[in-house]
């Protein structure tokens, strides 16, 4: 049996260059917190800058530079842009498109995921793999042909057209998640309902759907992020000023020639950042449940 006093001598004999556990521990923590701090700075500083500029007098934003906001230049004036010009239109369009995408994604992924979990059909595995193939294309590659097709069938500048495009790129993930989630619900629960007289549809509605709540939230959140933050599809498929959403819209604010009101742009940006944060914050418990595969 080795006594505690023997331990240091053992480390010495094993290799003189070897660092003690304490030093290694310290170095590890340094690297860990150092890298975390670096990444936080890269990600958080622009957000800080956005918030700071949104609340700063628009003239000051352009003419002066300061790390910290000074009390005399703080103002809410920039937010008046939200009620003026094309901005309200952009915001409403974004909300409509996002809501539409969430509804479509949740509805389709529930039905598709149920079908994949409960029915046997040929090439199911290949079909599932094919779904993931959708991720291999960048939005711009899909967007340009879609532009031609949409303009042909009259979906260009229609929000439903963008909803369809955004839903289809969200679908692979959502269907896959729902499929895996529904697989964890014991089939005997459905069988028990059938025997009690419930039709397959009724059983789906009464027994399966309520139990998929965490997966529904995860899919909704995913669709929300895709739709709310989308730039490429909206830019291509909603070219008109009237119908476009926030992301392409803000680009137009910048490009409005000569004078760029950074204060206004930051105010709009800030407003559009808040909903995703709230969404993620209040649903995080559900979200985590949705991603964990339950054990039987």
């Amino acid at each position: 049996m080795s006594t505690p006093t023997e331990t240091p001598s053992e480390t010495e004999t094993e290799g003189g260059t070897r660092l003690s556990y304490e030093t290694r521990d310290r170095l590890y923590n340094l690297a860990l917190y150092g890298s975390a701090a670096l990444f936080s700075a890269v990600i958080l500083f622009p957000i800080y800058w956005m918030v700071q500029n949104a609340f700063t007098d628009s003239q000051t934003v352009i003419t002066e530079f300061s790390w910290l906001p000074s009390p005399e230049t703080v103002t809410l004036d920039n937010f008046s842009v939200l009620a003026a010009g094309a901005v309200p239109r952009y915001v409403i369009n974004t909300i409509v498109v996002t809501a539409g995408t969430i509804v479509v994604v949740v509805a389709v992924s529930l039905v598709a995921g149920y079908g994949m979990a409960r029915f046997r059909f040929r090439y199911k595995q290949s079909f599932a793999q094919f779904l993931l193939l959708g991720y291999m294309f960048s939005p711009i590659v899909l967007g340009l042909p879609l532009y031609l097709i949409w303009s042909e069938i009259g979906l260009l500048n229609a929000q439903i057209g963008l909803v369809i495009a955004l839903s289809s790129i969200s679908m692979p993930f959502a269907v896959w998640l729902m499929w895996k989630y529904i697989q964890t619900i014991p089939e005997s629960m459905e069988e028990s309902a059938w025997i009690a007289g419930a039709s397959r549809w009724r059983t789906f509605w009464d027994v399966v759907v309520p139990q998929t709540k965490p997966a529904i939230v995860a899919c909704a959140l995913f669709a929300f992020a895709i739709a709310w933050n989308d730039f490429t599809f909206a830019q291509i498929l909603l070219p008109s000023q009237e119908s476009t959403t926030f992301a392409p819209g803000i680009m137009r604010l910048i490009d409005q020639g000569g004078y760029t009101s950074w204060g206004d742009i930051m105010a709009v940006s800030l407003l559009m950042t808040v909903p995703p944060l709230l969404f993620a914050y209040f649903l995080q418990e559900y979200l985590l449940k949705g991603f964990e595969v339950r054990t039987r």
């Binding site: 014991p186 629960m189 069988e191 309902a193 025997i195 009690a196 007289g197 039709s199 009724r202």
Partner: protein, 363 residues
């Protein structure tokens, strides 16, 4: 209501293996009010049979009738059966009350009537104070009571059980058995109860049907299948501890028959004439461990003591013999000794003879 299963076969096609015959030409009738238990080792086709009766599976051939109505192809929704699942299958997002009244709700029974039925069933099952809880907060035994209640309120015309107690511990099982019997008596419909536990089958059933490898081996009352097994499989499967078998040879002297196992001979109550065709041929002798006595090595099959399992009121003693390990039910005070030679004496009136090839009982 009477359930008739006629020549039912269920074959599963599997893509990479041969076809699996889960149930092979099974014919069985469950009378009105009869509690029939389907028992057998796992994979014997008992659950497949039950699923076919429930409508969750469809037979490849044969028919299932309830009275005169052919239900073979009917979906489960139209069969008016109740099924208790092994994994209980309560809906986790509904309260106990909602779980119990779900079937009635589907059937369109008005709410006050539903409440009345649920209250009645809950009182009978002693879960009246659990109605507003969620299933997850109940114990396994209580959950199974709720599942029973869920079936009870619907007053089904056939009641099916798919190993409902196999996840419960021994004490809970014993507690729940009389509850199940009371409930099924109350409903008074044909009951098909599937289990792999022969003790459950023996204690609860009016009639037991033993299956092996997709085929029905024997159906009869618990006493009948215990004392008059049709073959060695039933003999071994029913009864605790399992029947012991010895390779033996039939001998005949002066018209009386005897079987010799090694150097031990047991005379039989049968005459040589009754064992026509087996005289001087090998047979298997089956004896229940309760019918084996301990004596001198000269008087029985030579045996060496291995270990004792005292159960309090009796002891299961295991001996090593030339026929392999043999379990004997001995007196509670029996204390085996590895140095002593024992002889196992078979009760001649309790020996059963089986054909060594087909396993069919000869005598």
């Amino acid at each position: 209501m009477t359930v008739h299963i006629d020549n039912m076969t269920r074959v599963f096609d599997s893509p990479n293996a041969d076809r699996i015959v889960a149930v092979d030409e099974l014919s069985l009738t469950i009378e009105d009010g009869e509690f029939l238990t389907l028992v057998g080792p796992s994979g014997c086709g008992k659950t497949t049979t039950l699923r076919c009766v429930a409508g969750l599976d469809t037979p490849t051939a044969g028919t299932i009738r309830v009275d005169d109505r052919d239900v073979t192809e009917l979906p489960p929704q139209q069969r008016d059966v109740a099924l208790l699942f092994q994994d209980i299958a309560l809906y986790p997002h509904m309260s106990v009350r909602e779980n119990m009244e779900y079937g009635l709700k589907i059937a369109g029974v008005p709410e006050d009537e539903r409440r009345e039925h649920v209250a009645e069933a809950a009182a009978l099952l002693q879960i009246g104070d659990q109605l507003d809880k969620m299933p997850a907060s109940l114990s396994g035994g209580q959950q199974q009571r709720v599942a029973l209640g869920r079936s009870l309120v619907r007053d089904p015309s056939v009641f099916l059980f798919d190993e409902p107690m196999s996840d419960l511990d021994a004490k809970l099982k014993r507690e729940l058995r009389p509850v199940v019997q009371r409930i099924t008596d109350e409903i008074g419909c044909p009951v098909l109860y599937v289990t792999h536990d022969q003790e459950e089958a023996m204690t609860m059933s009016d009639r037991i049907a033993i299956m092996d490898d997709g085929e029905l081996q024997q159906a009869g009352s618990p006493k009948e299948v215990y004392s008059e097994p049709t073959n060695d499989f039933v003999g071994e499967f029913i009864g605790q501890p399992a029947m012991e078998f010895f390779d033996a040879r039939v001998e005949s002297a002066n018209g009386t028959a005897a079987v010799s196992m090694g150097n031990h001979t047991v005379s039989l109550p049968a005459t040589a004439a009754e064992l026509e065709g087996y005289v001087d041929s090998p047979v298997r002798v089956g004896v229940r461990p309760q019918q084996i006595g301990i004596g001198d090595p000269a008087a029985g099959i030579e045996a060496e003591h291995v270990l004792d399992e005292p159960l309090g009121d009796e002891t299961h003693s295991i001996f090593e013999t030339e026929f392999g390990d043999v379990t004997v039910v001995t007196h509670a005070d029996f204390d085996g000794d590895g140095d002593t030679d024992y002889g196992l004496v078979l009760d001649e009136s309790a020996t059963q003879l089986f054909d060594p090839d087909s396993g069919v009982r000869i005598h």
